[in-house]
């Protein structure tokens, strides 16, 4: 079951919200219903799985802040339902709503929203105080949360004595101290300096690895969205125009707006080796001899081949001249002939990590999975193509689009080259 679900959610501010929703449902546009009210969110539907980081990305005025406020009932939807776990927020009483906010969903705010007249520890303990946890216990748990975000030792200071980044850590610690399953983050890092923002993003990813919260993260920064989000919902003018992983959105934008939006993104940080790799042309298993290897290379019209074990664990690269020499010398073992000429990269590595290995050698960079097995290669041409500016990315993921000298034909038994 999804941790959080929105079903056809609308939010219209203004004089006749119900009428505006009726017209929107009948197909009228946001501008056409302007006289009845301002449609902030139009027909938003999505599910957030437990433990997932779901990013809602949009420019200011796209309705993302209103959307996140409907997820904990700060804004009641004009139409549609928000279901948190097993609770339909539109049917709960005010008291139940407070219970839900205390126990199940907490929030981190853009401008931190700390209580300026309370110390850091009291701020972090605020949700626990609302839950009527006794003083020693809530100080202990708030202290733990502060330790988690690296603010141990600041307990007795006031928010005004901390820098912006530290204040937001308190905001995060406060939400963590509440120990809710769902965490809503409303432009949580937008007010911070770029360097601090990056640091906070890393910290959130780190925390998320151990805590596994369900996070809904709002941002207007596409790089942030791509960096943090397991999935991203792109919003424009109140509507969700696309939901997908960062790679899906980059490589297959739903419309021109999204395409234009992602055109500026630093693809090297978002696209992974796995999304651009192609099938290796020549692969030789370690049991074979020089003759087989040469045959393989000739077939592939390649000057090198990758040597793998039976379970496809990468052993190294074979160059044709070495194999020819070995054949003349009568050597049978190929393993001794391998070169460490090219460093293998992980399938999840961002493209930015592939430049160095790619520059070291003219050979395609081998891509391996977590267990070291060869799953594909990235020829230099493919890498350059992925970077091409006016390319929305659609061509990037197509295997075989590149035709470097080494890659000619798929070798038998190779795994799927490209993920799309």
């Amino acid at each position: 079951m999804a941790a959080l679900r929105a079903e056809g959610v609308y939010k219209v501010f203004g004089r006749r919200p119900a009428e505006a929703v009726r017209r929107l449902q009948a197909g009228e546009s946001r501008d056409e219903v302007k006289n009845h009210g301002t449609a902030a969110v139009i027909d938003a539907s999505f599910e957030v799985e437990a433990g997932e980081t779901f990013v809602v990305m949009g420019l200011s005025g796209s309705g993302k802040s209103t959307l996140i406020r409907m997820l904990n009932g700060l804004q009641p939807p004009t139409a549609g339902r928000v279901v948190l776990g097993d609770a339909d927020l539109s049917t709960v009483s005010a008291k139940e709503m407070r219970q839900i906010r205390q126990k199940r969903v907490s929030m981190v705010f853009q401008h931190f929203a700390l209580l300026p007249h309370r110390t850091i520890i009291d701020n972090a303990a605020y949700p626990l105080a609302l839950q009527d946890v006794d003083r020693t216990e809530r100080r202990r748990r708030a202290g733990q949360a502060l330790e988690m975000v690296g603010l141990g030792g600041w307990e007795d200071h006031l928010p005004s004595e901390l820098s912006g980044g530290m204040r937001q850590r308190v905001g995060l610690a406060r939400a963590l101290a509440a120990d809710t399953e769902v965490l809503l983050m409303d432009e949580a890092f937008s007010a911070l300096d770029p360097l601090i923002r990056r640091e906070m993003q890393e910290q959130l990813l780190e925390l998320q690895e151990t805590l596994g919260k369900t996070i809904v993260f709002i941002t207007h920064d596409l790089n942030e969205a791509m960096h943090l989000g397991d999935r991203i919902a792109m919003m424009r003018d109140g509507r969700i125009v696309q939901i997908g992983t960062a790679e899906q959105i980059l490589s297959d934008p739903a419309n021109d707006y999204v395409a234009q939006f992602v055109a500026d993104v630093d693809k090297t940080r978002v696209l992974t080796a796995g999304s651009v790799m192609v099938r290796p042309a020549a692969v030789v298993t370690s049991g074979a001899g020089p003759r087989v290897a040469l045959h393989e290379m000739r077939e592939a019209q390649a000057s090198a081949a990758y040597l793998v074990d039976r379970d496809r664990t990468l052993r190294g690269v074979l160059r044709d001249e070495d194999v020819v020499a070995a054949q003349r010398a009568g050597t049978e073992s190929l393993v001794e002939l391998t070169r460490d000429e090219v460093t293998a990269v992980d399938v999840d590595a961002p493209l930015s990590d592939i430049f160095a290995p790619s520059a070291e050698s003219p050979l395609p960079v081998p891509v391996v999975d977590a267990r070291g097995r060869l799953v594909g290669v990235i020829p230099r041409v493919t890498l350059l193509e992925a970077m091409a500016p006016n390319d929305t990315g659609a061509a990037v993921a197509l295997p075989g689009a590149a035709s470097p000298e080494v890659v000619a034909a798929p070798s038998p038994g190779s795994t799927d080259g490209a993920a799309s």
């Binding site: 904990n72 700060l74 709503m97 407070r98 219970q99 839900i100 906010r101 205390q102 126990k103 907490s106 929030m107 705010f109 853009q110 401008h111 931190f112 929203a113 700390l114 209580l115 300026p116 007249h117 309370r118 110390t119 605020y126 949700p127 609302l130 839950q131 007795d156 200071h157 006031l158 005004s160 406060r174 509440a178 809503l184």
Partner: protein, 289 residues
């Protein structure tokens, strides 16, 4: 009715209303009047009965408590000595009692209304014109009905003072609460706080400096009404000012007027000193201690 195209008999309605109030709710107004008079008499007794230097020193000590510096207490002692020296001490204490009782009532009414107005747009929209009315309607106009309802003496003066001084208390309370960072209030909601708890733990502490500025304004406006209270028979400095006007007694007027100024300065400095420290500053003082 000379040559008007139409005449609204507003004056008659007002007179009828007062007549109706007197005849049907006379007993209620009697009780209210008695309570107000008792409060005033009690406070006057406490202030005027002990020797002047005892009261003077206590008031100076209060000043020391409000602002931990030597200037304010010393200045207060000096001022009170002048009031005593021009033979206005008893009058000044009567006036102080009237101002304190009227201000306390005005504040007790103003702050809850201000809180309601801050939380509810309708209440805010309704109170605004009423406050404008109360503040700008010449005080003499409602002094007369007050005299009819409560009879001559200190009570109509006090009622007129409360009406006149109420507005800034309401306005500044509303403003103070509305000025509290909405995101902080939202955070209270987001973590499941009740509205009452948000009011008590977030809105009121953070709005306190503005609310206290309102309290200060209420007190100062109350003091500015002493002369008008004197007109309808309230004892105190106002009565001497009125008497000096009627008998063209320049000396008496100056003496009583100066006593009003000294009292005003004392009350202003002390109340603004009490109110100037925000919740954040107070928290800072305790964390450093």
């Amino acid at each position: 009715m000379n040559d008007l195209m139409f005449r609204i008999p507003l004056g008659e309605w007002a007179a009828d209303l007062i007549a109706w109030l007197t005849s049907t709710l006379g007993a209620v107004f009697d009780v209210i009047g008695d309570v107000l008079r008792a409060a005033y008499d009690g406070l006057t007794y406490v202030l005027a009965e002990p020797p002047f230097w005892v009261v003077g020193l206590v008031l100076a000590a209060l000043a020391l408590l409000a602002r931990r510096s030597w200037q304010l207490p010393v200045g207060s002692v000096l001022g009170f000595a002048i009031i005593y020296g021009v033979d206005q001490w008893d009058n000044a204490m009567a006036t102080l009692a009237l101002v304190l009782v009227a201000s306390a009532i005005a504040i007790a009414i103003a702050i809850p209304i201000g809180i309601l107005a801050a939380r509810n747009a309708t209440v805010s929209a309704i109170t605004r014109p009423i406050l404008d009315f109360m503040q700008t309607m010449p005080a003499f106009v409602y002094l007369l009905p007050a005299v009819i309802l409560f009879r001559v003496g200190v009570v109509p003066g006090m009622v007129a003072t409360v009406i006149f001084a109420l507005a800034p208390g309401v306005r500044l309370t509303e403003l103070g609460i509305r000025q509290v960072d909405s995101e902080v209030v939202e955070a209270g909601h987001a973590f499941g706080a009740t509205p009452r708890r948000i009011l008590r733990q977030i809105q009121l502490p953070l709005a306190l400096p503005t609310i206290m500025a309102g309290v200060n304004q209420v007190i100062m406006l109350s003091l500015s009404m002493v002369v008008i209270s004197g007109l309808v028979g309230a004892a105190g400095l106002g009565q001497d000012v009125v008497r000096s006007l009627q008998s063209v007694n320049i000396g008496l007027g100056v003496e009583a007027g100066l006593a009003v100024v000294i009292l005003a300065m004392y009350l202003d400095r002390v109340t603004s000193a009490f109110g100037s420290r925000s919740a954040v500053e107070r928290a800072r003082a305790t964390t450093k201690a």
